[in-house]
């Protein structure tokens, strides 16, 4: 069964937060929603989690209790211990024989040793991993993770992506919003948002292939308006180029915004 949203439009007053956005959530697949600040990622994920309603468009989601949602901030009960947080989720979802799975998830998240610690006393990364583990515990059909890796150290991000991959391997459709383009490379499907509109969507390869022109490494920019810093060197977009070095999703995102901004001007 494939879940998804179709032709969503959401407005905040006169601001259009989402415009005609469609996305399918395939079981066993990680879907990354990427975009800059204010792109519409959280708005889309709230609708996907069933807690937000669009002004226009349709939503097709799993039934009650088959969705897990990790909000962008917190998502853990700070006054409960790690173990108590897991137990609450198990009770709320009426899970049987959940303890072994909870232990496994906490172990994979490298927070098993903090079982008796209050969630509020965990580090930011540990809290996000606990939130992720809580999301995975009920083995949902649709797992919605909003900025779960934001502000998290690289090792914890790796732990979290291990959890995300495990959830997809278990058959869940996973929807992850992230600002980190390198993370989106790990997803099976990518939706690139800018100002509420879809700039590109598909598999990472399809998204890369759809980009106009190519991007190449240069020591000095040929056209500063279409170049950007990457470490000590520059990345230069060549709108009419056909062969350059390997193109990343970050290149695609930047080029898409450049094109959009050019269009706007």
């Amino acid at each position: 069964m494939t879940w998804g949203v179709s032709k969503l439009t959401v407005r905040f007053g006169h601001t259009v937060a989402l415009s005609n956005v469609s996305m399918e959530f395939e079981p066993g697949t990680v879907h990354a929603v990427v975009g800059g600040d204010g792109a519409g990622k959280t708005t889309l994920l709230r609708i996907a989690a069933g807690i937000g309603l669009p002004h226009e468009g349709s939503v097709h989601l799993p039934g009650p209790g088959r969705i897990s949602y990790v909000p962008p901030d917190g998502g853990v009960f700070a006054d409960l211990t790690v173990d108590e947080n897991m137990q609450f989720i198990a009770d709320a979802y009426k899970l049987a024989d959940w303890q072994a799975r909870a232990d496994e998830l906490l172990d994979r998240s490298a927070i098993a040793e903090f079982g008796g610690r209050l969630a509020g006393k965990l580090s930011g990364g540990q809290r996000r991993k606990l939130a992720g583990s809580m999301g995975l515990l009920p083995m949902p059909d649709l797992l919605v993770l909003d900025e779960v890796t934001t502000g998290v150290d690289p090792v914890s991000r790796m732990d979290l992506w291990r959890l995300i991959a495990a959830a997809a391997a278990g058959g869940a459709a996973v929807l992850v919003a992230t600002s980190y383009l390198d993370e989106a490379e790990r997803a099976g499907r990518v939706l690139l948002l800018h100002d509420g509109a879809v700039l590109a969507s598909g598999s990472p390869d399809e998204v890369r292939a759809a980009m106009k022109g190519t991007v190449t490494d240069v020591a000095e920019p040929e056209d500063p308006a279409t170049a950007w810093r990457m470490g000590r060197r520059w990345r230069q977009w060549l709108p009419d180029g056909v062969s350059g070095g390997p193109v990343t999703l970050e290149d695609v995102a930047i080029v898409s915004e450049l094109q959009t901004n050019r269009g706007a001007r």
Binding site: A39, T42, A49, V70, P71, D73, G74, A92, Y93, G151
Partner: protein, 348 residues
């Protein structure tokens, strides 16, 4: 320094609740202390009974406002009138003039006692229900109301708002828990703690402060149950309109303060200016205080307390229903009117 002052003014201007508190609180205090907080009682509801009722009525100090004149009345009727709060002072004329004063209204009773010089010199004055005019006897039953109000509005609202601040309220909405599970599950612990608090204060009041318990336990329980729904409803209602714990506390103060000052708990309602007194009549604590004083000190009949209980029940139904509906709305999917609030570093 200029930058700091400018920043503070900008923040203050955008924090409408704080501005409302800064402007509203002084106005509220002014009204309370200007019109309500009066120790000088100028009107004492009085009953004149017995054959000389009319004669006594005409010779009384103007503060004694005679609301009942009954030439055939006697001491039993006088005590009933006081028990049912129809009068604060009852004068029974006859060969011996007996004056009965309701001791549950402390300032009113003290004022009445001071003015007894307008009565014939052979008058026998007796204070009923609280003969020693003990402050604790009057305050303990009222304190139950204040403690429950504090617990209900402040603690409950903080508990619910904390969920919103931690981003767990929406997470709860996604779980298979029904809204009713979340609402009842959220309120039940506070309800239980409030019941225990109430029992502790009652036991301490009765056994440590020797506050009499003359009324029916059933009536006590009925008032307690209904009042708990009112205060927990207020707490949930406050939480549904507050985004942070700070906002909830601000709002709780605005709800608490007038109740404590205008409910008749400290200052008698009859000494307040008429306009302010009406605010008191709209507050739940007013009826709870009346009920508790009636149950503890007077042993009032069901008939005498039926009206405050009924009004309190009406408030409970309205406030609790409103609170549940608003809380339910918080848990239900909704169209956003403003952008979702973001964590630092998170993007919409």
């Amino acid at each position: 320094m200029k930058a700091m002052i400018l920043k503070e003014f900008r923040q203050m201007r955008r924090d409408r609740r704080t501005v409302a508190l800064m402007v509203g609180l002084p106005v509220m205090m002014l009204i309370i202390f200007g019109y309500a907080a009066r120790f000088d009682v100028t009107e004492i509801k009085t009953a004149a009974l017995g054959p000389g009722a009319s004669v006594v009525e005409s010779s009384l100090d103007p503060a004694f406002n005679v609301v009942v004149t009954d030439p055939s009345g006697d001491a039993t009727i006088a005590k009933e009138l006081l028990r049912d709060s129809k009068a604060a002072v009852a004068i029974v004329t006859g060969p011996q003039i007996n004056v009965y004063v309701d001791g549950t209204e402390l300032f009113l009773a003290q004022s009445a006692m001071r003015r007894t010089n307008s009565l014939p010199s052979n008058a026998n004055v007796e204070v009923l229900f609280n003969p020693e005019l003990s402050t604790s006897a009057v305050m303990v039953p009222s304190l139950i109301g204040m403690i429950l109000l504090f617990l209900g509005t402040v603690i409950t609202s903080l508990g619910v708002v904390r969920e919103r601040e931690q981003g767990t309220l929406e997470q709860l909405a996604v779980t298979p828990l029904r809204p009713v599970d979340v609402i009842v599950g959220k309120i039940a612990p506070y309800f239980l703690v409030a019941v225990i608090d109430m029992a502790v204060v009652t036991i301490v009041g009765v056994f440590l402060f020797n506050v009499p318990f003359r009324g029916s336990f059933l009536m006590y329980s009925a008032f307690a149950l209904v009042y708990l729904f009112v205060v927990l409803g207020l707490g949930v209602l406050i939480s549904t309109v507050s985004k942070s714990q700070g906002e909830a506390i601000q709002l709780a103060i605005m709800v608490l303060l007038p109740q404590v000052m205008l409910s008749g708990m400290i200052f008698p309602l009859s000494s307040m200016a008429a306009g302010v007194r009406w605010i008191g009549y709209l507050l739940p604590l007013t009826y709870f205080v009346t009920g508790m004083r009636g149950v503890f000190l007077k042993g009032s009949s069901f008939g005498a307390l039926a009206m405050p209980l009924m009004l309190l029940t009406l408030m409970a139904v309205v406030i609790f229903s409103l609170a549940v509906l608003r809380f339910r709305r918080d848990l239900a999917p909704k169209q956003a009117e403003t952008e979702p609030e973001l964590a630092p570093g998170a993007a919409a």
